[in-house]
Amino acid sequence: HASGGSERWDLSVTVEDLGPDAPPVTLSVTSDLHVGGVILRLVEKTQIKRDWSDHAIWWEQKQRWLLRTSWTLEKYGIHADARLLYMPQHKPLKLGLPNGITLRLHACFSSPVFQTLMGICRMLNIRHPEELSLLRPLEEKKKKKDKDSAEEIYDLTEVPRSSVSRPCLYNGMPAHFADSPKMEAIYKMLSVTQPPPAPEVVAKQYRPASVVDKAHINGRWLDSSRCLIQQGIRENDRLWLRFKYFAFYDIEPKYDVVRLTQLYEQARWSILLEDIDCTEEEMMLFGALQYHISKVSQSEDLSFVVKLKHVTICFRPKKLTLKGYKQYWFKFQDTSISYYKSKEESIGEPIQQINLRGCEVAPDVNMAAQKFLIRLLIPAPEGMNEVYLRCENEQQYAQWMAACRLASKGKSLADSSFQSEIKSIHSFLAMQRTNPSSHGNTPANDESINTHSLVSPRYHKKYKTKQLTPRILDAYQNVAQLSLTDALTRFLQIWQALPDFGLSYIVVRFKGSRKDEVLGIAPNRLIRIDLGVGDVVKTWRYNNMKQWNVNWDIRQMAIEFEGNVNIAFSCVTADCKIVHEFIGGYIFMSTRSREKSDTLNEELFHKLTGGHEAL
């Protein structure tokens, strides 16, 4: 081919804005024409007046954007046979959030996914985008497709790109969310936790049954170094936005409302879908926290408005029964209960005074049998004394139960949480009262949360609602006083304290080994899991790592640790780029420091995760 550059030839470019059926626009060009010149002539020829600033040329055969407008066609190596497409770089994308809601927004299809993600997070007001990534969703069954059309999609495509870069916040909310009530509603969806899902919804979701199942999910992460279109993502495709690196840096509830909420949602679903294992006790606590969080976030304004008047120290006449069905006159004072033979004698010395501080309070309630027992385990030098208080009715039970709980924590009835404690006990009783057959209804409605919504399906089978509710209530008393932020933080803390927290699994084949094994990638270490034994057989910590190499040809990773420890493996369930990116990403996360937390070192991230593209 002649290279002179003066020779004219025909370049045809498809302009997306002319419609799918429009023929390509043909330009007569020379090889020394730069891309900017091509675009200029293209726009002139279409005779469409609009803002073309976001448009760029995509070279289909080479899967490459022609973003350097000063480069000549020759430099790019473009000839007459090139199939070029002139289209916007930002296109709508359906984005599934950790809370299960789908957004529609404009995402950049031309920059590396890492940058695309930064743009998305800026729009959604999520700090530290480096901790998140985009995941291809699981294939959904065909018959569910029609249901999809009915799914509510929150539309953010109207947000002008320019406003996203505006950093100013309006009432703690990015300015673009303040534009209309509709936008404000979207922000509320992002920043307020979702009500507990109906148990059927949880049961229908895909649940990984084994470590290998979990490993398959990790094969779906997008490559951060390449752009969306290069990875086969098209306009209006669906992707999931998820936290990928479990090293959450500098969470500040004041600025991280959306981040915290979405992180909680992801953690909650990982518990509900048994993506991460926990014990039964932990499950009950997670359930209790979910219950509390959903209550507090729904009535957040209320709980601060309802201020308690001074509570008088003495209760109205109570007739309570001790074990053995004896009636005494009970008085609640400070953190102690005193009991007397009768009301008349209550001016004198009580038969006994019991200080409830530090005691264990447990409910023993059966609504159907109208049994309202409070079980107290009171510590004494000799051991724990077990005492039952039998209340006559629900009202009395709620008051005394609330008082006992506060007293066990050393708080008196004058404490401001007394009324809310009573309220929550009532709503728990209400849960027991609700007919379990009606749990198909919307579970969000205040008093009628089905406790099955709060635990994984395993426990739907194991316990009936009636059995489950008191167990969650039991765990609930330790968290009922928490504020919304504290409850969210607590949930995340317990989640992070689980032994398997932060592990991303990949099925690999170690060099010299004939069987598949699982590599677990954690924020600080790699672990090797023997599928036969089902247990961790080896741990390598990153801080002992000297270097790692990727052989892109045979798709093998080799890692060298201090003390001449070398491991090598090929990846089975994920591309080795994904594994490479995981390890490099975690190294990157550990280099973050407070003084530089505002500026994301993109270059370093790509250096650590990019592989040969970064060269």
């Binding site: 030098p381 724990m384 089902g534 040969h612």
Partner: protein, 761 residues
């Protein structure tokens, strides 16, 4: 995708985490520096400036009304109970008045005659009072002379402060009281009547504190009525009444602060007695003990609780409040509080690998670098929540009520201890919860092989702090070796206390660094000459105080609702401008430590800036980690013994100039052979709690009680241990009214003891 010419690409070399080391090197934080005023080398100054005194024990106790000083004694603890309502307090005060006069009359009478006297003057609770006073005598006799002096100084300080405050408040009340109908009171009046004004110089007090405590006295003053508005008489009266009620409520609140006189056993068999109030945490108490014992203040020093009956021992965590766990002791308790070094207290921060990499072999653990240790600490303690080491071991569990032990595979998780049921997998969902940590503490068991036929002596147990006797609610676990035991006990502590442990460690480390500077700098100092008579001081102050209280209470009575408030109380018998005791400080009030800034503990400077990331390809084999810093606690620990030695007697005396017989009354300084624990070993076998060396050293007895109480007679009439749940007051009174009427006697007892002591030479 581009086809790269490079077939095999080395992606990146691995650089250390420079930020990590930076962050760690920044501790101790400078934020607390202000709390430690610069130490003056001039010891005379200590007495002149109240600010210096203030930084000692005083600031934590402020003023307390006399009424809370009714005393109940446990073997080593005097429980100072609070009064709950005004009536009780008032009658108590009157009772105390009577008692005081009586006790002043019969100063020479034997203390044993007192109980009878007192029972006649108090109108109720005869039995209770009797036993309390018997006990009080015991505990007072137990106190060493120095302790008595120190205690006296404490009490006097309290009284003075209260008196001061009250006087100020009453004066303040008086100001707006008789307002001319249309002339609001001039604001000047406030300062004129202010007791804190230097117009009343020290008279017979003998106080050498010259600075008036204006700051403490002025704060509770009710604000003067606004001048612009002309309040009606009714409004003013209502306001006055409200103010008075508010004042009284404040007083009551203050009176509720619980205090204990605590005897702490030292390793050499001697003891120190200090007063601890419920707001003080263990860290503060340790700091007090550092001043008193002149030890090297290293991070291993701990306050431990022992229970001989259960054969257990536990080191309190530095952030815990001391009073609360002590209140759980029964009245006949043999429990002790020990002050000793425990290497395992902060072992996890010295050698985190032992706990977090316990699965690795010993060789690998020993080879670990300091940098890796710091990373481990950062990873596990500096995140959103502390990470609990994932322990798993076959432990022996004592079966309820039996002396048989059964093996189970246990796992430690943040949420509790679990075991793997027979025939089940180790999967989380199959685990059975053995115990959660909300309501239990973890204790080391001693000689369980003998007591419970345990397989080994490496036992720990978990129980509610209130449980003091053997019970099915105590869970006993036995490990195969000491290492496993420490692993588990520490793991449980991390699960229970989380990042607080690390905070505590950092504070302790800082304290140790400060003290090492101080010991290097300490120079011989002059002794303090002033020794006023605390006896007279107490009685007069006390009478004055009673007048004040009476006045205050009567002014609250319904009769004065519409009228002019009663006249001010009779002029105080003593000008009371000082908040501080006239007696020079006892060791507790020792000079404040030197400023942190001056500390010279070796802290290598780290690059604060993250070096520009530069990842050469291929990586250089040499790692460019910053040099590992020597861990300060370890450095301290391995320091030569001299640091540990107490200063020679002269400087000792300078710190506590009060005792008339310094040589005799001061407890002996810890001997140089003071046992030191190997930092990697569990608590050593000989324990003062179980084989306590009595104050006169050469008589080790088998009976623990005799050891602590030299006077054998005191055990003759142990008070029946009343159930905690039994009310001690017939009506109305809340918990803690049981000591009503006792306060006066505690004081007179104290005075008597002082007199006696003074007459000895």
């Amino acid at each position: 995708m581009c086809v790269s010419p490079c077939k095999r690409i080395c992606v990146s070399s691995f650089h250390a985490f420079p930020d990590m080391t930076c962050q760690l090197s920044r501790r101790p934080r400078p934020s607390n520096e202000n709390s430690l005023p610069p130490r003056s080398t001039d010891h005379n100054k200590l007495i002149d400036t109240p600010q210096n005194l203030d930084s000692g024990q005083l600031e934590t106790r402020e003023s307390n009304s006399k009424s809370d000083l009714s005393a109940v004694s446990m073997s080593d603890i005097c429980l100072l109970l609070q009064m709950d309502d005004i009536d009780a307090m008032f009658s108590d005060l009157l009772g105390e008045m009577d008692l005081l006069t009586q006790s002043l009359e019969q100063e020479t009478a034997a203390p044993t005659s007192l109980p009878t006297t007192t029972t006649t003057t108090t109108n109720n609770n005869k039995e209770v009072n009797f036993s309390i006073f018997t006990d009080l005598n015991e505990s007072l006799h137990e106190l060493e002379d120095t302790d008595l002096d120190a205690l006296m100084a404490d009490l006097v300080a309290d009284l003075n402060a209260t008196e001061e405050k009250l006087a100020a408040e009453i004066q303040g009340l008086k100001v707006p009281s008789p307002p001319p109908p249309d002339l609001p009171p001039p604001p000047k009046g406030l300062s004129a009547h202010h007791p804190a004004s230097p117009a009343s110089p020290a008279g017979s007090t003998g106080s050498n504190v010259s600075t008036p405590a204006s700051s403490s006295a002025s704060s509770p003053l009710p604000p003067p009525p606004p001048q612009s508005t002309k309040p009606t008489k009714e409004e003013i009266e209502a306001q006055m009444k409200a103010d008075k009620i508010k004042l009284a409520l404040e007083k009551l609140k203050e009176a509720k602060v619980k205090k204990l006189v605590v005897k702490v056993l030292l390793n050499d068999g001697s003891s120190k007695t200090l007063m601890v109030d419920e707001r003080q945490n263990v860290r503060e108490v340790l700091d007090n003990l550092f001043e008193k014992t002149h030890c090297d203040c290293n991070v291993d020093w701990s306050l431990c609780e022992t229970n001989p009956e259960l054969q257990l021992e536990r080191a309190f965590e530095d952030h815990e409040n001391l009073v609360e766990p002590l209140l759980a002791w029964t009245r006949d308790s043999e429990n002790k509080i020990l002050f000793k070094e425990r290497g395992e207290k902060y072992e996890v921060f010295k050698n985190p690998q032992t706990f977090y990499l316990w699965k690795k072999d010993n060789k690998a653990l020993k080879a670990i670098k300091d940098k890796d240790k710091e990373i481990l600490i950062k990873e596990n303690f500096c995140g959103t929540s502390a990470i609990v080491p994932d322990l798993e071991a076959v432990l022996h569990l004592k079966e309820d009520g039996k002396k048989s032990w059964r093996q189970r595979l246990f796992q430690l998780r943040a949420s509790g201890i679990y075991y793997v049921p027979k025939g089940k997998t180790k999967s989380s969902r199959d685990l059975v919860c053995f115990l959660q940590f909300d309501n239990v503490n973890v204790y080391y068991g001693k000689d369980f092989k003998g007591k419970y036929k345990a397989p080994t002596d490496f036992c720990f147990l978990l129980k509610h702090p209130q449980i003091q006797k053997d019970s099915q609610y105590i869970k006993y676990l036995c490990c195969d070796d000491a290492c496993t035991m420490n692993l588990w006990v520490t793991g449980i502590r991390i699960a229970k206390y989380g990042a607080s442990l690390y905070e505590n460690f950092k504070t302790a480390e800082k304290r140790a660094a400060v003290s090492s500077v101080w010991t290097n700098r300490s120079a011989p100092s002059c002794s303090n000459p002033s020794t006023p008579s605390p006896t007279i001081k107490v009685s007069t102050t006390f009478v004055h105080f009673l007048f004040m209280m009476r006045y205050l209470l009567s002014s609250l009575s319904p009769q004065d609702v519409g009228g002019v408030p009663p006249p001010p109380p009779p002029p105080p018998p003593l000008p009371s401008t000082s908040t501080f005791p006239p007696s020079p400080p006892e060791p507790v009030f020792a000079p404040p430590p030197p400023p942190l800034a001056a500390k010279s503990s070796p802290k290598p400077a780290f690059p604060q800036q993250h070096p520009p990331p530069n990842f050469p390809l291929p990586p250089p084999p040499a790692m460019d980690f910053p040099p590992p810093p020597p861990l300060p606690p370890i450095a301290d620990h391995s320091e030569a013994p001299p640091d540990f030695l107490p200063p020679p007697p002269p400087s000792f005396g300078s710190l506590s100039p009060l005792p008339p017989l310094p040589g005799k009354s001061l407890p002996p300084p810890p001997p140089p052979c003071f046992r030191r624990m190997d930092q990697s070993l569990p608590p050593p076998p000989p324990d003062p709690g179980f084989l306590p060396p009595p104050p006169p050293p050469p008589a080790p007895t088998a009976a623990p009680s005799a050891a602590v109480r030299p006077s054998g007679s005191v055990r003759k009439m142990p008070p029946p241990p009343p159930k905690r749940t039994t009310p001690t007051l017939p009506a109305g009174g809340g918990g803690g009214g049981g000591g009503e009427g006792g306060g006066g006697d505690f004081m007179s007892e104290l005075m008597k003891a002082m007199q006696k002591k003074r007459s000895v030479p």
